[in-house]
Symmetry: C2
Subunit: 331 residues, 2 copies
């Protein structure tokens, strides 16, 4: 009998995520029923939102069930199809999970063209992370040319796109990232105007130097001290797209101290989940795809090899050890 | 020589406001020049925003200068006019300050009709506090009939109007106020559905009982624990009009702990200052005036007698000792 490997949630973390919260299993390849598609995954995407799903605290999405395949975005090739919309060999993006294969009814599968865009980019710059950046920038932050935009987790899958899109709009773009190597990449490769290394110990002073005219819009991925420092530099009528708070995903204290600034600077803050704005994805993905194919968007990937490497890669992502979009290569 | 009394800022408070931060003075009544209007004030309005002006910390408005008349809204009668727009005896609203009289060029003076609305209401329900309520509710919170709206400082000049306007829209309205007397007033007189006494020691449990279906929109006047408790009860896509944070006006810690809720519930938060939306005042004041004259808006006033009583009344306001709109009767 043919089998494939998958990783299930074995236990819910209390605080830090550890390898024992996951379990690697071999399971039989299922038969393909009428209307169904079997996909062999080429890449699995690892993303911070998965940490939230591992908890059973009330959130915007149902928790990941125990003993079932971990949720995750995937890109791969159709290996068997009884669905007229898909042919064997098609490259498709979907939510196949932490697994080498997945069976689907095709409803949530999207065929993609890899002529000008590599398959893995559909999990990053031209996928959910790219759309997250595009939505937050265009629909919440709405920066004008000449304004200063700050982006935390600036070298990451989302932050790197936010900053490049803001540069294309004529903004001054200030990244915040962990470590001099990431900061050098953000400025030298991605073209941000400045990048502040929050690990260097002078976050507020460095941010002041990097944003001498203040900050007009923030894309927030981190929370805690990083968010407070950016808030302290805001100008009146600043806009904040609140996308993530990775600093607190293990239960760390991420209390916001500069809360008065929200009032005194008449700030607009909007928390958002990009999957609730699917009506905008066709437009956003088209724009992102054109920019990428035209060489106007750069991205970087951290690729772990093989499904068994996924838990450590995910733990590294939560600790900021990745550099750019974190993927797992499965085939 | 004729004189009148005024109160100037004598020193900036470090923390709590004390009587010695103010100084009562007698000054000469100025001559009325061409185009000018001399007004004898009937009422002075005391409002929380004044605390911010007493500090020289960076904020949305310039600090109150030392040794000059404290800023403040006033209603009074024209006693001398060399401005064709105003006649002796007209009742006018303006920013006359903590003083028995003021001289004005008329630009910021507004003639009001006291046939159906008492003069003092133009400093409350049909003035800046009423407009603050109207703007936050209609332009930020935008509640639908059936939704639950929470209002802190519910018995105050602003909160009382927010709740009554929300009731008129068909919302369930939950007030938060300090003490059983204020809570009884909010429910029995103003018609809120429930009111939680934050001093009773069971804020979160009481709020849960008062808002069993969660909270869809918050009008926040207080900050700190009160804000955190309301946030903890929000539903997805809740809207927050951030109007004030009186819990922290003396430098108290008002860090926001439930910051993750802003993300998980995809909350919209907007800080605002109603004087930046003057284009909406004619519409808002017309609506508020019609509701008040029609008996559909109730309000309550705490009236201190004489200018010398203003500092203690203001200190009481910051401590929540007032009950309803705090005024000083000057004539």
């Amino acid at each position: 009998m043919n089998t494939y490997q998958r990783i299930v949630l074995a236990a819910r973390p209390q605080g830090e995520v550890l390898p024992e919260h996951f379990r690697l299993e071999s399971v039989p390849v299922p038969p393909v029923g009428e209307g169904q598609v079997l996909v062999r995954h080429q890449y699995l995407s690892l993303d911070p939102y998965m940490r939230g799903r591992m908890s059973d605290a009330k959130s915007y999405a149902a928790p990941q069930p125990l003993d079932e395949t971990m949720i995750g975005g995937t890109v791969g090739q159709v290996v068997e199809s009884k669905n007229p919309r898909f042919a064997v060999g098609d490259t498709v993006v979907g939510m196949g999970g932490w697994a080498e294969m997945s069976l689907s009814d095709g409803a949530m599968l999207r065929k993609v063209d890899t002529t000008h865009i590599p398959a893995s980019a559909y999990l990053g710059a031209v996928g959910m992370p790219g759309m997250t950046a595009w939505y937050g920038l265009n629909h919440i932050m709405k920066p004008k040319a000449g304004e200063t935009v700050a982006v935390s987790a600036a070298s990451g899958a989302v932050g790197s796109i936010v900053g490049q899109l803001a540069k294309l709009k004529g903004c001054r773009v200030v990244g915040i990232a962990g470590g001099s190597e990431k900061c050098a990449y953000v400025v030298d490769e991605l073209g941000f105007d400045a990048c502040v290394d929050y690990k260097a110990g002078n976050l507020r002073a460095d941010l002041k130097a990097a944003a001498p005219d203040g900050i007009d819009a923030i894309f927030e991925n981190v929370g805690g001290e990083v968010f407070d420092a950016a808030l302290a530099r805001t100008n009146a009528f600043a806009r904040i797209a609140l996308c993530g708070m990775i600093a607190g995903y293990n239960g760390e204290d991420i209390a916001l101290k500069n809360v008065r600034t929200l009032l005194t600077n008449r700030i607009l803050l909007q928390g958002f989940i990009v999957t609730e704005h699917m009506e905008l994805w066709p437009q956003g993905l088209t724009e992102l795809g054109q920019l990428l194919a035209g060489g106007k968007l750069k991205f970087r990937e951290s690729v772990a090899e093989g499904l068994a490497a996924a838990p450590e890669a995910f733990i590294g992502l939560l600790k900021g050890r990745n550099f750019g979009k974190q993927l797992v290569k499965l085939a």
